[in-house]
């Protein structure tokens, strides 16, 4: 069996194995083995692909049987969704599943004869996605085993369905592998729907009212995207007699076929729902109710990245089109607004959620511009974002277990109370935004490309959004390193071993990525661009590259050296200045009644003028209007 098929089928089968195992310990071991095998298989696939000279892997030209399975899968999904919708009295949502499935079934059975195409196609972009899904997804499962034990312990009010949860995670990975490796749009549609349903089930894990409510919101939003996707696929298939993803892009960029405009717009629209852009962002925020590993999975390795993957694929076809402008605007706007809302949040997980939406916005905008530079930036952003978000979510989850809160205000002085977790958190945040790490270089490139494309709105969004982004990250970092206003005693770090393994792997990956940016860009992202655009363009000039290396060296070494110099220095430690009424250990002062009072420091949240709710409503109305107007322009132009 080829590794590709193995990667789709193994997690699928393993999901059922996990589901069937009743004993917690055995199941945990099975999950470790499963994720180990997945990571190994991804490694094998990557090695094979490298040895073959990185030629795109094309497979399965004749797949009549498999196609029937796919169709059957679609129908099963439809039945599951319909059953659940009826069970929870959300009847109308089932329509969003029934209609596209029936349309696709009709198209497959009664539609035109299709050209012979490969059904699996792995190029640089797919391979990258495989690596992200396999490694990060695998590590998240490792983390989840330990976390869910604690979760079941802390939340006796929810039914303990750990087997179901872990099984779902494997199921999700299977769908993601299928999604990124498929070339046939019909296959892609199945896996697309599968991820939607998986995330729906994960969000509703606890079966609490809020969880059910949020999960159905996620479901209808993603299914609505699925409808657009199905319509786009059928329209394209009917006109061109092919359903290959690459054909869609080639026909559009090289032949300038007019019938490609509409499917591209529809598929891009579908990707917006999956990437949680305004006006569809609410489902990702609602997904916070689920246990942390599922958040980590949805935010980093799977789900939202599926949207980004599709948009990056479409990027060359969107360059300079109305669809491109629409996507760029929505992305840029989301980047800016979500980062402002993130400033007003103090719940760690919510900050992460809004920052995910915001960063995805930047990636979406990069894809929408469709220039090689922006795609370069988008790809790098995606890599960094996957690693650092996964790290941060897991870390916040572990911290919550240790201090009993995930509020950033309660993380004051975390570096002195839980040094290990705080260090991981620090690494994750630094990777997210601090110059010269990670995001920064992508921002640099995106900004330049936006200027080149004379996209003034995007330039302004990036520039202002970048300021607000640094604000909410930096104040979080500040909280971590402040001296504690509590007793300052170390807390017991109850992070489980497997959680630590996953966190450490992520942190090491993060640091390696930061150091190796120029290298990764040269050997991986540049070939990816050649493949996508057919021409080579040195996105990162050599001068900048050298500067980058020097800057990275400095930013790493200077604090380290200074730390060692500073440690040797003799210094007289004084009390902090509190107008002379400090009671002796910096944590208390004498109040106006002569009583000692505890000092409490808090961050700025701009609550006086950031009203998340109003801002969200405003953004939703605005973006919906933009989408409606531009989609009707596109449809009107195409028909």
């Amino acid at each position: 069996m080829p590794v590709t098929v193995f990667l789709i089928l193994f997690p699928l089968i393993w999901a059922f194995v996990i589901f069937a195992i009743r004993d917690n310990k055995v199941r945990g071991i099975a999950a470790y083995i499963g994720s180990g095998i997945i990571i190994a298989a991804v490694g094998v696939l990557f090695a094979q692909w490298l040895i073959n000279g990185r030629v795109p892997i094309k497979m399965f030209f004749d797949t009549e049987v498999a196609d029937h399975f796919i169709l059957a899968g679609e129908i099963v999904l439809m039945l599951v969704v319909t059953y659940l919708c009826f069970k929870y009295h959300k009847y109308w949502i089932s329509i969003l599943s029934i209609v596209p499935t029936l349309m696709l079934a009709y198209f497959e059975l009664k539609g035109p004869e299709l050209h012979r195409i490969p059904h699996i196609y792995i190029d640089h972009l797919s391979m990258l996605m495989c690596l992200i899904v396999g490694i990060i997804g695998g590590m998240i499962i490792v983390y989840a085993v330990g976390y869910m034990d604690g979760y079941a312990h802390h939340h006796p009010e929810f039914q303990d369905r750990r087997n179901y949860f872990l099984g779902l995670l494997f199921f999700f990975l299977s769908a993601m592998f299928g999604f990124v490796m498929s070339e046939s749009l019909l296959w892609i549609d199945l896996f697309w729907e599968t991820t939607s349903v998986c995330s729906f089930l994960l969000i509703g894990y606890t079966r609490a009212d809020e969880a059910v409510h949020n999960s159905f919101r996620a479901l209808w939003m993603n299914l609505a995207g699925g409808v657009a996707l199905a319509v786009g696929i059928i329209y394209f298939g009917w006109n061109s007699h092919t359903v290959a993803f690459h054909d869609l892009i080639n026909l559009s960029t090289q032949m300038h076929m007019a019938y490609c405009v509409l499917p591209i717009a529809l598929i891009a629209f579908a990707a917006l729902t999956k990437a949680a852009q305004y006006p569809f962002s609410t489902w990702l925020i609602g997904a916070m109710v689920a246990p942390t590993p599922s958040s980590a999975l949805l935010h980093s390795a799977t789900m939202v990245k599926a949207g980004i993957y599709v948009l990056l694929r479409l990027a060359p076809a969107m360059a300079g089109t109305l669809t491109g402008s629409m996507i760029t605007f929505i992305g840029g706007f989301t980047f800016f607004v979500a980062s402002i809302i993130a400033i007003g949040q103090s719940d760690g997980k919510r900050v992460l959620a809004f920052s995910t939406i915001s960063n995805l916005g930047l990636m979406v905008a990069c894809a929408g511009v469709g220039a090689p530079e922006t795609v370069w930036a988008g790809v790098l952003l995606m890599i960094f974002h996957a690693v650092s978000k996964s790290l941060l979510f897991q870390d916040v989850g572990a911290t919550e277990n240790a201090i009993g809160s995930r509020d950033i205000e309660d993380m004051h002085g975390l570096l002195y109370r839980l040094p290990r977790l705080a260090t991981f958190m620090f690494i994750g945040i630094a990777g997210m935004f601090l110059a010269p790490f990670g995001m920064l270089i992508s921002k640099w490139s995106a900004l330049r490309a936006a200027v080149d494309e004379s996209n003034i709105i995007l330039v302004l969004f990036i520039v202002f959004g970048s300021a607000t982004t640094s604000f909410y990250w930096t104040k979080w970092m500040g909280k971590l390193i402040s001296r504690s206003h509590e007793t300052g005693d170390r807390l017991k770090d109850i992070t489980k071993k497997n959680e630590v393994v996953s966190l450490t792997v992520h942190a090491v990956l993060m640091i390696l990525l930061c150091i190796l940016v120029p290298f990764i860009s040269k050997v991986y992202v540049d070939p990816l661009l050649i493949e996508m655009f057919g021409k080579y363009e040195d996105v990162l000039p050599m001068g900048v590259l050298y500067t980058m290396i020097v800057v990275i060296a400095f930013v790493f070494l200077v604090p380290i050296f200074s730390y060692f110099i500073g440690r040797k220095m003799r210094a007289n430690v004084k009390l902090t200045y509190m107008s002379g009424i400090n009671t002796g250990d910096n944590t208390m002062f004498v109040d106006s009644f002569g009583e000692p009072k505890r000092l409490w420091l808090s961050n700025y949240y701009f609550r006086s003028f950031i009203h998340p709710h109003q801002l969200r409503i405003f953004s939703q109305i605005l973006t919906t209007a933009v989408l409606l107007v531009m989609m009707s322009m596109i449809i009107g132009g195409a028909l």
Partner: protein, 176 residues
Amino acid sequence: MGKVKKSPWLLHYDGSSCNGCDIEVLATLTPVYDAERFGVVNTGDPLQADILMITGGINQQNAPVVKQLYDQMPRPKVVVAVGTCACSGGVFRECYNMLGGADSTVPVDIYVPGCAARPESIMDGILKAVALFQKRSDEHDQYEKEHKGEARPVDPSINTAHDKAKLKEMEGTADA
């Protein structure tokens, strides 16, 4: 060996006073007298100050505050008591809550008399303090040179964040 006397930074603390001397100290910094021409800066932050300038007397409540501020200042440091109250307690001396002049709590180097002390004499006090500041700085350097690498003897006053025993004692005096 630096010339530190050109940069005396003040920390002004107004104790139990009628605020007359307080106003005069501020007057010293206004354009008419312009203490800044001698490099004087009124920092308001003990960690950055060289000269602690106290106006008004010391009472039960402000004694620990003055002591803490004095302790927070880095060596070398000079204390100037401005006005009669700071020098001796003045008219408030016999009040039930008074401890006396500034020297009841911290070691005072320069006494500037007057009720209220006139800006000219305050300026004179500052300049005397500056000379003393230079002298102490030189002594400090000399000491550092002679005892290179050695730990300094522990400051008898509270100067570490962890010296809680001292603190208790301090609070004890405040309650007394």
